[in-house]
Symmetry: C2
Subunit: 193 residues, 2 copies
DNA sequence: AGAAACCGTTGATATATGTCAACGGTTTTT
DNA sequence: AAAAACCGTTGACATATATCAACGGTTTCT
């Protein structure tokens, strides 16, 4: 089960992982299975673990006063489920993370991750590159949200996230884009003409 | 002029900077002055430098087909002006960064920064923490943009960014929030009642 | 196998926000 | 000192998107 994680880490670094490093990684990341609809993180709890998704699909969302869910992230294989603000600051999360499909994770605490970063250069390297990639992706999404119409946002999203479109129902995609499912339905209908 | 930068870096780390490290930093970061309205980065150019703002105020924005500017970032003292996607990937930027007030910067290339990260642990540490803080801030902004009405977004912004409100005109704040200046004007009027 | 939940779509209508034009008061430029 | 550019506001109107309700077709549960 840890092979996918090892492969994932390796891909970020030119330094190959030693056998000892691989063993340490395997010993540190704990497998965890979550059935569909179960929570990985609940609003109000501190996010204690980051989870690498080996198999499955998850979503992260907040719920407003009216009970409406707002999807902030969608995750599939090779993504990390985590509320960084909560796990870093040790504050209660405003988000929920739950499984959209039955999901297999490899989980790790923040303290363990800091330890691994210290012991394994490739991990430190991976984190740095992930942060960088993350900053870029966030910047793009923000920019798109501020500047573009719903239609253009959907087109951009569809162009770059084909796997998500296939894997999650439309109403989740709509919420991720900050629009209602009805609006997305109308946009798509119009787009095909 | 470099004292403010040294102080800024120190604040991120418990390791104090040695005299040699301070000298290296001072030698690497080049002072640069930019007059109001001048560009630090122009759309289409590769972002060659990151700039630490010692004094002044800047803005980062894209321009759409209709010629409308969309502010994605506002910067004042102790902020970093940079288009990370462009400087990391060496691709032409879709953004402009210009000075809103006369501004003094300390600039550094990506290669130099990587070198400093390698040589000075406190710098590596700073970058890591900045990335972390950044990820959190971006997450919040994104979440707010997706979930909240314009009015609530403005209230949240005003509550946490008093300095920006005092320093930049309303139409820039409006653009930063993804709304028009007219809408912001009406929101504010209503809010005071 | 039947019931229930889920999903996407459509219509009618409501609401938030954008667009355009104009104004008076500043500040900046020359 | 005059002219120009900038800034916030307001009104009238246009548009994008949300809301609410209903429907038929799936899929999921029991």
């Amino acid at each position: 089960m840890h092979e996918k994680l090892i492969a994932y880490i390796s891909q970020y670094s030119n330094l190959p992982l030693t056998t000892e490093e691989q063993a340490l990684i395997t010993a540190t990341f704990q497998p965890k299975k979550i059935r569909k609809k179960q929570y990985f993180l609940q609003e109000g709890d501190v996010c204690k673990y980051a989870g690498f998704i080996v198999k499955g699909a998850m979503r992260q969302y907040s719920v407003d006063d009216k009970g409406t869910e707002h999807i902030v992230h969608l995750f599939i294989e090779n993504y990390w489920a985590n509320d960084r603000e909560s796990s870093t600051m040790l504050t209660p999360s405003v988000y929920n993370i739950d499984a959209w499909e039955d999901t297999e994770l490899l989980i790790i605490t923040r303290a363990e991750m800091l330890y691994l970063m210290d012991k394994i250069p490739a991990i430190a390297q991976m984190i740095r590159l992930m942060d960088e990639r993350n900053a870029i992706v966030n910047q793009r999404r923000l920019s798109s949200t501020i500047s573009n119409t719903a239609e253009k946002r959907y087109e951009e999203f569809a162009a770059h996230h084909q796997q998500f479109i296939q894997r999650f129902p439309q109403h989740l995609i709509a919420s991720y884009l900050g629009i209602t499912k009805e609006t997305l339905s109308r946009i798509r209908k119009q787009g095909t003409k």
